[in-house]
Amino acid sequence: MNNRKQSLAVCLLLTIALGVWPSVILAGSIEEQTHLLAAELRCPVCQNLSVADSPSEMAIQMREVIFEKLKNGESPEQIRGYFVSRYGEWILLAPTRKGFNWIAWLLPFVVILVGAGIIILRIRRAIGRGHGPNADASHPLDPSYTSQLEAELKESER
C-alpha cells in the first residue's frame, strides 16, 4: 500500500514538474518578458489596444525597443519607467497603485460591497416581514376580493 502511495506521489510530482517546467522557461525568456511588458503598455496610435496586441508599425517598434532593453539587462521596472518618462502615466493600461489612482483600483470593490450590503439589507427586511409582502398575515384580505376569488374558482371547476 505504501509503495503504491509512494509511486503515485512520484507520478504526481513528475507530472507537475513536466507541466510547469516549460512555462517556467518561457516566462523567463526575453520574448515572453517582452510580450508581458508590451501587454501592460497602451499603443499610442491605436484605440484601446495594447502594444502586445497591436499590429501597427509603432507597436512593432515599441516591442523591439522593449526586447533590446531587456537584452541589455534593463529590468521590467526600468523599462516601464522609461515609457512613463516619455509618454506619461497614460501609457500604462493599468494605473499605478498610488495617490489618486487608488480610486480607480478601489471604487469597483466599494460599489460591489455597497451593492451587496443593500441587497442583504433588503432580503433581511423582507424576511423580517414574513417572506415577502404577500405573506403579511397582519393585513387580512379584502372580503369582497375573497368572495370574488371563490366565485371564480367555482366557475373554473365546472
Binding site: 499610442p44 496610435v45 508599425e57 509603432m58 517598434q61 515599441m62 523591439e64 525597443v65 512613463v84 518618462s85 516619455r86 509618454y87 506619461g88 497614460w90
Partner: protein, 172 residues
C-alpha cells in the same frame, strides 16, 4: 420615494455626470508631454542628403524638431511651407529646423521633400527609436528645444506661421 433616497440618488449621479462632461470636453490626443521642461532626449540622425546631425552638436542653438511622414495628409503638407519659411527667416539667428521622417519609405519621403522644396535638414527614423524617445503619438508633432537643450514646448498637429514665430521668439 423618500426625499433622502431622491437626494442620495441625485448626489451619486452628479459626480458621474461631471466626470463625463469633463471627459467629453477633453481632447484625447491632448495628453501633456512629461518631457516639457526637461532635457531633450539626445539623438543622432543621418540625413537624406548624406550629412549627419545630433542634438549634442546643436547645443547653443534653438532647435525646432518636427516629426512628419509623407503619408500624413493634409497636416504635414500644410505645415511644411511654414517650417521652410521659419528656417529661411531664423537660420542666421541661431535657429535649427530639423525634420524627422517616421514610419515612412525613403522614396516617398524624398519625393515629399522635393515637392515642397524643403531645404532644412531632414532624416529618417527607420527603427522609430527617436520617435519613441520623444513620446510621439502621431504625425505631425513638433518640439521646440531651447539653447540649453531643455524642451520649451510641444505642439501636436499642423503648425501655422503665427505659432512658429511666437515659440521661436520666446526661445531667442
Amino acid at each position: 420615494m423618500a426625499t433622502w433616497k431622491k437626494l442620495s440618488l441625485l448626489l451619486s449621479i452628479i459626480p458621474l455626470l461631471l466626470l463625463l462632461a469633463y471627459g467629453f470636453k477633453t481632447n484625447p490626443r491632448d495628453v501633456p508631454s512629461p518631457l516639457v521642461g526637461h532635457q531633450a532626449p539626445p539623438f543622432a540622425l543621418s540625413m537624406f542628403d548624406g550629412s549627419s546631425n545630433s542634438l549634442e552638436a546643436l547645443r547653443g542653438k534653438v532647435v525646432v524638431l518636427n516629426f512628419w511622414a509623407s503619408w500624413c495628409y493634409p497636416a504635414c503638407y500644410e505645415e511644411a511651407p511654414h517650417l521652410e519659411a521659419a528656417w529661411q527667416t531664423y537660420r542666421d539667428r541661431g535657429v535649427m529646423v530639423i525634420g524627422v521622417d517616421m514610419q515612412d519609405r525613403d522614396t516617398e519621403a524624398k519625393a515629399f521633400i522635393e515637392r515642397l522644396k524643403l531645404s532644412f535638414p531632414n532624416g529618417p527614423d527607420p527603427q522609430g527609436k527617436i520617435s519613441i524617445d520623444y513620446g510621439i503619438y502621431g504625425v505631425p508633432e513638433t518640439f521646440f528645444i531651447r539653447k540649453d537643450g531643455t524642451i520649451h514646448y510641444k505642439h501636436v498637429g499642423a503648425l501655422d506661421a503665427k505659432l512658429l514665430k511666437a515659440k521661436i521668439e520666446e526661445m531667442l
